[in-house]
């Protein structure tokens, strides 16, 4: 009798989990660099703090739970979570915010569930959302995009990161926050939108979170992932459709009260969410039809929360809400089995000759 059973298949595709994580990071790089360029050294420091904090938290958890630390860390998932969290924080956020968010993301949303693959909510979004509801002031302290050169130097950046005090000269409002405030004050959209969406918005020349502003570069990274077959097109497309369709309808009906679809797409974390947050493997459905429902639902909820909710940005909440529905979608939106109807009954036997061309 064999001591070790070698089950088939005896061949293997080359791609590994850590390679996938690496590809995602590579795809995030352009948008991240643009974020550094626009928001200067403090953004870089924030990014670094997030990644280090996430990796450290993961290492501590692994050590505590008695699992092997290095092999698991090398899958790169903790670093990726930190990266995504950094991209979704205000670029000049203080260090403790980053550390707290990383701890929530890794410990509460991931490791207590059993680590990679076991969590049910997107760790980065859990981190960001907890910070948002706990520290609304710090989490909505936006800075206007400056070029690296004319912004801050490293020393200044460190002092900003340590104190969390953003000099008044630099503060700015994000488009969504601004629109919400102005609409609340009874000012029509046409006036509120004056000069808020500059021409450079596609490249990130606007206020917002660290990595969410340069939509074009996010699109580039997302396209790279699609080409590399790391992600499918369903979730990004579904998300954008779920966000833009109701926005377009509402905007057509009442242009003065509802933002146009393009403004929705180019503001806040919509693009980042569509390509990098909602596409998280672990917390999104794995079957095609479920992915469509998930993505359209997340886009729709984002639009609902942005338009009527108390928070100006809804991507994080929308993704978390659809994460909660993911197990049900995996269960109820399974693919059709070959030779069976959608309900699972065997198909009727059709004769060959009847269907010949």
């Amino acid at each position: 009798m064999n001591d070790v059973v070698h089950a088939s298949p005896h061949a293997l595709a080359r791609r590994t989990s850590s390679q996938i994580m690496g590809l995602v990071m590579l795809a995030l790089l352009p948008a991240t660099l643009a974020g550094f360029w626009h928001f200067g050294w403090p953004a870089f420091c924030l990014w670094l703090v997030c990644i280090v904090a996430c990796v450290l938290c993961e290492a501590i958890c692994l050590q505590w739970s008695g699992r092997r630390v290095l092999p698991v860390l090398s899958d790169g998932s903790a670093a990726l979570t930190g990266w995504l969290l950094a991209l979704s924080l205000p670029p000049w956020a203080p260090w403790w915010l980053a550390v707290l968010g990383s701890a929530f993301a890794i410990v509460l949303a991931k490791q207590v569930f059993g680590g990679l693959g076991c969590n049910v909510f997107n760790p980065a979004m859990v981190g960001r959302t907890i910070l948002l509801v706990s520290f609304p002031v710090q989490m909505t302290q936006w800075v206007s995009p400056l070029l690296l050169s004319q912004g801050t130097d490293l020393a200044q950046a460190i002092s900003i990161g340590l104190s969390g005090a953003v000099p008044d000269a630099y503060t700015s409002a994000s488009l969504l926050g601004h629109v919400k405030t102005e609409l609340g004050r009874g000012i029509g959209l046409a006036d509120a939108m004056q000069g808020v969406l500059p021409a450079g918005a596609w490249l990130g020349g606007r206020a917002g979170s660290l990595g969410e502003t340069s939509s074009l570069l996010i699109l580039l990274g997302g396209g790279f992932l699609v080409l590399k077959r790391v992600i499918g097109l369903r979730i990004p497309l579904g998300f954008m459709a779920g966000l833009c369709l109701p926005a377009a309808i509402a905007h057509a009906l009442a242009p003065d009260a509802f933002l146009p679809p393009l403004a929705h797409l180019l503001s806040g974390g919509a693009m980042l969410g569509a390509f990098f947050i909602a596409t998280d493997y672990v917390t999104s459905p794995s079957a095609p039809f479920g992915q469509w429902i998930f993505a359209v639902g997340a886009g729709l909820l984002t639009w609902l929360i942005r338009t009527w909710g108390g928070y100006p940005e809804g991507v994080g909440f929308a993704v978390l809400l659809m994460n909660a529905a993911t197990p049900l979608l995996d269960m109820w939106a399974r693919p059709r089995i070959f030779g069976r109807s959608l309900g699972g009954k065997a198909l009727p036997a059709r004769r060959a000759r009847e269907s010949v061309r």
């Binding site: 009798m1 059973v5 089950a7 699992r67 092997r68």
Partner: protein, 178 residues
């Protein structure tokens, strides 16, 4: 005083009115008693071998329904019966399942004297043979109840695990990810 009376009267009225409705409903929707013991008896092998430590299969069924015994208490039934009963009663089974390995009686030819004691004892007619002739075990019918082994005067009967053949071999479950 009047207020108190109103309160008492109204609550009494509500209570008695609802009580009446419930009383009627209790008759209209009456349900018969627990039929689960009978159902469990029907699932057990009915060999009444006593390996579970209860008086026959009916006793074991009562104990299982009452929660005094695990559904896995029946060695001849093994995994199949345990799982079926557990599912039927909605009980969670522990990890003790794999310990229940089916065994069968094996007669050593050299020691058998053909006394027919085992043959007469076997609850499932699994032993074949006649007086002063070598006995054999019909493996498919043996429940492994061990009664024959206890009565065998020469100790020729032993209980042995069923041998694994390519036909009965089961691919092991992959080891857990560390």
């Amino acid at each position: 005083m009047e207020e108190m009376l109103t309160a008492v009267v109204s609550l009494a009225a509500i209570g008695s009115g609802l009580g009446l409705v419930l009383g009627v409903a209790a008759r209209r929707f009456a349900v018969e008693g627990d039929s689960r013991v009978e159902e469990v008896i029907a699932m057990l092998p009915a060999a009444n071998c006593g390996q579970c430590g209860f008086p026959g299969c009916a006793g074991a069924a009562e104990a299982i329904v009452a929660g005094d015994a695990s559904p896995a208490c029946c060695p001849p039934g093994g995994k199949v019966v345990a799982l079926a009963i557990a599912e039927h009663l909605g009980i969670a089974l522990g990890d003790d399942m794999d310990d229940v390995l089916p065994t069968i009686a094996v007669i050593e030819d050299a020691l058998c004297i053909g006394c027919t004691k085992c043959y007469r004892l076997c609850p499932s007619d699994a032993i074949i043979g006649a007086t002063r002739q070598l006995h054999g075990v019909f493996a498919d019918a043996c429940t492994g109840c061990n009664q024959c082994a206890e009565k065998c005067p020469t100790g020729a009967i032993t209980m042995q695990a069923l041998p694994t053949t390519p036909g009965t071999w089961v691919m092991p479950k992959p080891a857990l990810v560390s």
